[in-house]
Symmetry: C2
Subunit: 588 residues, 2 copies
């Protein structure tokens, strides 16, 4: 009731958004650029100041980013990431890296200086999930084979977005970036993501399903929002972006049985705040300023469209899809959108870039977003033209390449072995990550709670010993699991690698040595890793050695029990991941 100003502004924005969505839907134009244009029209820079305080609107529109990332996470799900597959992930990494480099070069070409160029590269690197999925839906392509490729790449890009956001924040704050800092940032990020995912997967889906059993939409919605915002808070507190927290929360909640119901409840919120988000972007733009940066904006847009479509299409083709599918997927990825705005805003807020980057990025994104549906629709045309234009020998080469790829696919037995291999490596990696996380948490506790320990009368060495011992003992089941998986890996490798016809009568002996050597090497590497990462909490050598000795003793005595503990944790995790999600109406 009071503070009419804010409600008035918000009401105006929603009214304009409503009118825009109806009008643009009617004219079959993409709605998202419509929101931005509407924002420019009612913004403070155009005659007839309509919105009194765009800052307040922009504040709430940030809720849009949180809810957007949360729903992206909900659609992402660990299961889907597995389906994306390694090759697609590789293409995406190459594509994003290439676009980043291209954007950086373009920025230098414009003479904008290194940091502006770096942000420009990041702005150009990430396709817009919202624009691409809309284009797929609106053209009825949702179920086509190439749509799966596009969605896979978008999911992979979402993960890279998180990495980029964190890196850019580090760069913007520290000024420059050294390789060491970058690795540490990525390492910390990886730890947070893996540890967060695993702890989250053990707790949150159960909690959500528990709440869902109350069978009241309101309770479910408010608790899920509590989880979403709580995780964002945790991420922000640990120095990561709010967006990362929301995304992880979504990915974890996606594994709940009632995930479909949650999606249903959260979608209206996302839609409202997404509309606000895009209108708020328009509010910040001064159209008279756009004229000055029209040329760079057009250059950027053309580079994005050409670069993204070419590299994605070529990548898709190289991994064995036909020309038409590759072209469609490539053209569908050929735009930038919401993440570009998020990155540009980040740069502005941290004062890492010049003011003109933001309107230029918005203008370039606008061009891409408007062009996007037409590009997608013209994919077949391009494919037809391509078939006529490409010279005969090249066409022959292309088709023989496809045939060669066809032959390369792993045959049955190898495929099974490769899968076992992958699974063992994956298990070892996850367990190592968890052990490292425990020691990093120990170091964190040591660094931040000194006063608390002093109150208990613990000296520095005592403190280190206690924390180190705790981390070590908590790691025991994980260490044993690493050892056992590495043993299995060793046996598998021995069986495959040492054939009887080469080693003769020594075969068995060599195999046994190899089977023991691999787990021991793994443990040694792990010990070194832990030693380096936990160096700040390493107790005096004597204490450390005796602790290790006690630990080994414990491990031998409690072997079975510890194996069981680990098995139970793993089973709980697997259950969460493999439990079929129920349709939304079953539980409502």
């Amino acid at each position: 009731m009071h503070d009419i100003g804010f409600i008035r502004d918000l009401a105006l924005v929603m009214l304009v958004a409503g009118a825009t969505t109806i009008l643009f839907q009617r004219l079959r134009l993409p709605v998202l650029p419509g929101y931005i244009l509407a924002g420019i029209v009612i913004g403070p820079h155009t005659p007839g100041v309509l919105v009194a305080d765009p800052r307040a609107i922009s504040d709430i529109s940030n809720l849009g980013v949180v809810l957007l990332m949360f729903t992206l996470g909900l659609e992402f799900s660990v299961r889907k990431l597995r389906q994306v597959g390694g090759t697609l992930l590789l293409i995406t990494v190459i594509e994003v890296g290439f676009m980043l480099w291209l954007g950086y070069q373009l920025g230098l070409l414009f003479g904008w200086g290194g940091r502006n160029a770096l942000f420009l590269g990041s702005i150009m690197a990430l396709s817009s999930t919202m624009v691409a999925t809309r284009a797929l839906m609106e053209n009825g392509f949702r179920q086509w084979p190439f749509a799966r490729l596009v969605i896979g790449m978008l999911v992979a890009e979402d993960m890279l977005t998180i990495v980029l956001l964190t890196l850019l924040t580090a760069i913007a704050i520290s000024g420059t970036v050294e390789t060491g800092t970058a690795i540490s940032v990525v390492g910390h990020l990886g730890l947070f993501v893996v540890a967060g995912m695993i702890v989250g997967l053990l707790l949150l889906p159960r909690l959500v399903d528990y709440v869902a059993r109350f069978d009241r939409d309101e309770t479910l919605l408010v608790s899920v929002l509590g989880i979403c915002f709580g995780t964002s808070l945790l991420a922000a507190w640990l120095g990561f972006s709010v967006a990362l927290g929301a995304f992880l929360a979504g990915a974890v909640v996606a594994e709940a049985r009632s995930a479909a119901r949650v999606v249903h409840l959260v979608e209206p919120l996302r839609d409202m705040f997404a509309a606000l988000f895009f209108v708020a972007i328009g509010l910040k733009i001064d159209p008279s300023q756009l004229v000055h940066y029209a040329l760079p904006a057009v250059c950027i847009a053309l580079t994005v469209m050409l670069g993204k479509s070419v590299i994605c299409s070529v990548g898709m083709f190289l991994i064995g899809h036909d020309l038409r599918t590759s072209l469609r997927a490539g053209l569908c990825m050929a735009q930038i959108g919401e993440f570009s705005f998020v990155i540009a805003t980040l740069g502005l807020t941290l004062r890492a870039v010049d003011d003109f980057i933001y309107p230029t990025a918005v203008a370039a994104a606008l061009i891409c977003m408007v062009a996007s549906p037409y590009l997608l629709r013209s994919a077949d045309l391009f494919a037809r033209i391509g078939k006529h234009v490409i010279p005969r020998p090249l066409r022959l080469l292309i088709s023989s390449y496809s045939g060669w790829l066809e032959n390369l696919r792993p045959v049955n037995e190898n495929a099974v072995l490769a899968q076992m291999f992958r699974r063992l490596l994956w298990h070892i990696a996850v367990n190592i990550a968890l052990v490292v996380t425990l020691f990093v948490i120990g170091a964190y506790v040591n660094a931040h709670n000194t006063a608390w320990f002093e109150r208990w009368g613990l000296s520095r060495d005592m403190r280190h010993s206690v924390i180190w011992a705790c981390a070590l003992f908590l790691s025991l089941p994980l260490l044993i699991a690493v050892y056992r998986k590495a043993e299995a890996l060793g046996m598998l490798l021995a069986e495959l690698g040492i054939r009887e016809r080469f080693a003769g009568s020594y075969t068995q002996a060599i195999r046994q040595v190899l089977a023991k050597l691999i787990p021991l090497t793994t443990l040694l590497v792990l010990a070194l890793l832990v030693g380096v990462l936990g160096s700040t909490i390493l107790p005096p050598r004597g204490v450390a050695l005796s602790l290790v000795a006690v630990c080994v003793l414990f491990a031998v005595i409690l072997w079975r029990g510890l194996v069981k503990v680990h098995a139970r944790l793993q089973a709980a995790l697997r259950e969460t991941l493999e439990k079929p999600s129920s349709p939304p109406n079953e539980s409502s």
Copy 2:
């Protein structure tokens, strides 16, 4: 991403709200007071300041009021108001009036002065729709007969809320209230509501259904929010409350075919912002201050619970419900809630009340909200005790009263006539309201756009004549409709009132005179009304008379055409109101 402070606060509030909803649901305690308590705990007045800027949270929580009123309107619908029935409306008016008086007296008794006492009365007058409907749902009473009574009264109270809010705003701004001002405020309000409803009913349900046909939830949601906020904006611009606009928008959109889908989409938004709204209330409370006002708060809560339950139960009983149903309905209404906060906030913002009113009202509402489910559950106990305690003669009187009421119900033929009668009166009232609205709009245009007319070189008299003529010509179909309905009413009255056995051979003549007399009287009354209300735009007498003459001529010539225009408008309106609403999954 930037302005982490705001997102941080909001995240904290949502996290706490999520935890509260799970905990209180688990403990089977009402959730709404839980939100308020959680707000007090994390608020700036308790040690460990957690929320940095409660103002920002309070700003967004006002969105909660808009969305709350919109969904109330959606559930209200013109059809439901018809079902409420006259007697229930009467009881509600009496009950609200009585509680208002009781609260006023209590305020005077506390020595708080007249204006504080008036606001206290308003705070105590209105039951909480959210608390009452939750109590019904949670106890599984939703389908019981008394639940229909409670919902009817709540709907009627929602309408009275709007009246109260507008009146209190007028009082708070002008300082005191004169009868004339009050009548003018209520009159303007009535006009706005009736005109808004009719124009809205003709346009908005069609628009919503048109948008729904795009079959995209996002488009539908954003357009509906545009309508909701747009109407709020219009209401605020005309000097009414934002809440009224949102409520009217909801009531009008409720008549769309796709209303069920809209409810489905808007509910998550309301739930989120309702949680924010209640936590934000807690944020404003300083618990140390509560001690000072504990006594008045307890007195107010007891008065509300006792007063509301007694008067509602008695009212229900008097219109013919049995003791148990009456008691249940009464106890279900025995609390105050969200509207009390809205009114207290209004008083504070307009500086019409002292600061202590707000925390006192919140404390009293908290007590009522916590007690509410227990009161409802103990209704049967009260009924049983009542049966034992009430002396025999009184019980006999009670049962004979019920029997007498049973006999009073209108018999068939009379019921049909009564319905025809009601419908004619209703049609006449609506058309008169529309004519009056046209002239009031004319007066408004005249008062606000003088400069615009002067640019066209129109003198004062000319301006008046033009506006008056426009209003008159636009009113023509409505005037003819009033005349025809009044004629029908006259014939009906003549048929019923003048029986042959009284009037003998003069019967036909008297009937004909009566049938003509009534419409002419109606038109005369209407002319006087328009003359008074449109006095500021009355042209010189000669012009006015000639305009009337031209109008009458037109009316006679175009009678059929004008009847057709009116019939078409009426048919469109009736079609909107009587069109069956489709289930939500049919169109999605």
